[in-house]
């Protein structure tokens, strides 16, 4: 049986329409009406829920008064990647979930969309609102030009330090550039944001430079006054079963990156597609494949809807785009023929009396032209093995509340340390680390 996989299942017009912005920019009138709904709460729950602590009522009031540039600066002062976060933050589980208007009017203020209104305005009018302090003469190395690394670099540059960022990939931006769904990050938003961040000056990015290949942590510690590691997840989880690398079986993150980097009309997709996983990455790949014209897309998760990593909103996006969400089933084996993958056999699952997930022994087969694995990613410490290696904890770099590692002069943040794997959390890690590094460099205090 030959697998039915091809590009251009839909017309370019239809694909462009499918990939239109998930959260389109508000008009001026919409922004005025929506901002007027904000009560300007004191000790605002939304601000408390934001990992970067953005003064949300403050920026919304500025939008309402027509001080839109000021609103953007308020946002970026706490979260330099506020523009990306406006589009990709799971606001339904953060700021908007706790908005007092949920109680008052059963509908939160659209904080995410107002944040986008403000930050888009600033990028439109241009200019860098942040200034650098007097040069400190100190140099800091940052490993990884993702949200954590760039956030750290920008704050360090503001404090007057010189920063060199080492990035393994061709482009900077990390998951903002390679890892988010294209209908959330339209056009060249990620690249423009990187350009804006670097616009402060004092930050040199060296692309295609990988830790463990082109340089070592030892060298960085010798040559720089401090080091920040923001390498993110650098490896994907495997099913540990036969044929998972056969033709037709893919890692979701690779395909998501390809969709972001290539012409959408050139991306081959199967007629029948199976996605294994229950997180937002699984949703991102399932929805994007469906939007490219796959006929049957089934996302299979081993537990129930409530246990899914994907938020309710993301589940709804998948469902309204025609993705079938199948719960309580776990892959048993990948089905193949001479040409590659033909489907996946799943075993039904349930929780036993002690709440442990167990198979029921019954199975079903899902035929598939393409299978995507989205069962998580992890931090692989291999690049550090023959090097200075900080203490690890459950597979991630161990850090304290200031994001200091066990190695003197080395900080870490983002997905390579513990915490929610969100852009906004990575930005906060980078910011806190930068402030700690700044104290360390200026006070000479060993515990910054």
């Amino acid at each position: 049986m030959s697998r039915d996989v091809k590009a251009g299942r839909l017309s370019p017009e239809k694909i462009a329409q499918n990939y239109a912005d998930l959260h389109p920019l508000l008009s001026g009138h919409e922004a005025a009406v929506e901002s007027a709904r904000c009560l300007f709460c004191f000790d605002a729950p939304c601000t408390e829920a934001c990992p970067t602590g953005i003064d949300i009522p403050g920026f919304i009031r500025k939008i309402n008064s027509g001080n839109v540039r000021g609103a953007a600066v308020t946002i970026l002062d706490s979260n330099i990647m506020g523009a990306t976060c406006a589009n990709v933050c799971p606001v339904e589980e953060l700021c908007e979930q706790v908005c007092v208007k949920n109680t008052a009017e059963h509908r939160p203020v659209s904080i995410g969309r107002l944040q986008r209104y403000a930050t888009d305005h600033l990028f439109e009018i241009g200019g860098q609102p942040f200034e650098r302090a007097e040069p400190s003469g100190k140099r800091v190395a940052v490993v990884g030009a993702g949200p954590a690394g760039l956030s750290c670099a920008h704050r360090l540059a503001m404090r007057g330090h010189e920063v060199v960022v080492f990035e393994a990939r061709e482009k900077s931006g990390g998951l903002n550039e390679y890892g988010l769904a294209a209908y959330k990050m339209t056009d060249d938003r990620a690249a423009r944001e990187v350009e804006f961040i670097l616009g402060i000056g004092g930050i040199e990015v060296r692309n295609r430079k990988a830790l463990g290949v082109d340089f070592s942590l030892k060298e960085l510690r010798r040559e720089y006054d401090a080091v920040f590691i923001g390498m993110g997840h650098n490896a994907v989880n495997h099913l540990d079963m036969d044929h998972e690398d056969d033709p037709g079986a893919h890692n979701a993150v690779d395909k998501i990156a390809a969709i972001r980097q290539q012409d959408l009309n050139d991306i081959p997709v199967g007629r029948r597609v199976v996605v294994i996983g229950g997180g937002n990455t699984a949703i991102d790949i399932a929805v994007q494949i469906k939007k490219l014209g796959a006929e049957f897309v089934t996302m299979v998760y081993r537990r129930g809807f409530a246990e899914m990593g994907a938020t309710d909103f993301e589940q709804e996006v998948a469902q309204t785009n025609g993705v079938l969400l199948k719960t309580w089933a776990t892959p048993e084996r990948i089905l193949v023929d001479d040409e590659g993958v033909t489907g996946v056999r799943f075993e039904y699952t349930q929780n036993d009396d002690r709440g442990h997930l167990v198979g029921t022994g019954e199975t079903f087969d899902l035929p598939a032209d393409q299978v995507f694995k989205a069962i998580g990613q992890h931090f692989d410490e291999n690049p550090l093995e023959a090097d200075d290696c900080p203490d690890m904890d459950r597979g991630r770099i161990l850090v304290d509340e200031n994001r200091r590692t066990s190695l003197d002069g080395v900080w870490a943040g983002g997905d390579c340390v513990a915490g929610a794997d969100l852009t906004v959390v990575a930005v906060q890690d980078g910011k806190l680390a930068a402030e700690s590094i700044h104290r360390y460099l200026t006070d000479g205090a060993a515990h910054g």
Partner: protein
Amino acid sequence: MADLSCNIAGVRSPNPFWLASAPPTDKQYNVERAFEAGWGGVVWKTLGEPGPPIVNVCSRYGSVDYNGTRMMGLNNIELITDRPLEVNLAEITAVKKAWPDRAMVVSLMVPCNEKAWKDILKAVEQTGCDGVELNFGCPHGMSERGMGSAVGQVPEYIQDVTGWCKQHSDLPVFVKLTPNITDIRYPARAANAGGADAVSLINTINSITSVNLDSFSPEPSVGGKGAHGGYCGPAVKPIALSMVSEIARDPETAGLPISGIGGISNWRDAAEFIALGCGSVQVCTAAMHYGFKIIDDLVDGLNNWMDDKGHANLEAFRGKAVPNVTNWNELDLNYKTIASIDHDKCIECGLCHITCEDTSHQAIGRRKDENGKRWYEVIEDECVGCNLCYLVCPVEDCITMVEVDNGKPYMNWGDHPNNPMRN
């Protein structure tokens, strides 16, 4: 960054945003919180004579809500400070010492005799304050005792009291004017004649916010009864702007420094008052609605706007709108605009049509096209350019008023053939 520093009648502050004399400025605790938040100055809540302080009622405030938005207008029946004079004086002294760069103006109201004013001025001068504001505006309670607006409504009294204050003190004297009069220029001229260094306006407007239709008590209600109170908040801003402009362009008072008050809620409101000639602006209701933190956007928003427009400091745009306020008689009767509807933006609500049809000039026709889309069309020959359709249209930039070059020269009523009094 623009320079927001302000100097009005010799009173300096780092920005033009002062808290008006009112509950937010009644105590050291409040005022220090305001200064910590970044306010440029305060007018301390009105002090009265030594002796037993006045007594306030319960309740004190009433609100006019508008379509779900709270406090479009606010009314109060609170009197001057109800704390002992010596406590206020000690706190003013302490605050001014701790915050020397902020404007500290003290509001005063004592009976209408020279000795009372001389005595209070001597006491107040000891605090190190930057100026005094004579409360000739309070429209309730105190006016019935011959003070507040009872003085402010009689220009001769204003002139006399202002004169006494100038005679017995070197402090800059701000005269706070009541809007509860027919022509604001008369009390302003009196203040000017008495030697006032500045005027502050507007004080609150006589008002009853509502009537409770169950109890038939006016609001705010004090045990089922109510008295008229002073109205303020966003609703009064247009009245205040007009009164400010009258003083700014009156030949007798032109150049007299003005501290603008009346519904200032955001930096745009403030910029408008300054454009009409105000040197500083005073805020109360917005702070009482949201707390002192609103100063962030007041300062940041004004700063960003000034940077955008290239105004380096407040003087660069202060009074810029004054020459554009004229008498009706001087308006160009040949100036012509007509409405234009952008049909791509039209959401088919029909308000432009029905308001013009029922209440104006029948200049917007309606029809349906072949797809059933409602289609509203300006009948250009009938359109008088009144703005009504443009004002009721709920869609941004859907209806615009387009200037028409009719080739006719400027002509005002004085020259118009229809004018029987024509020169």
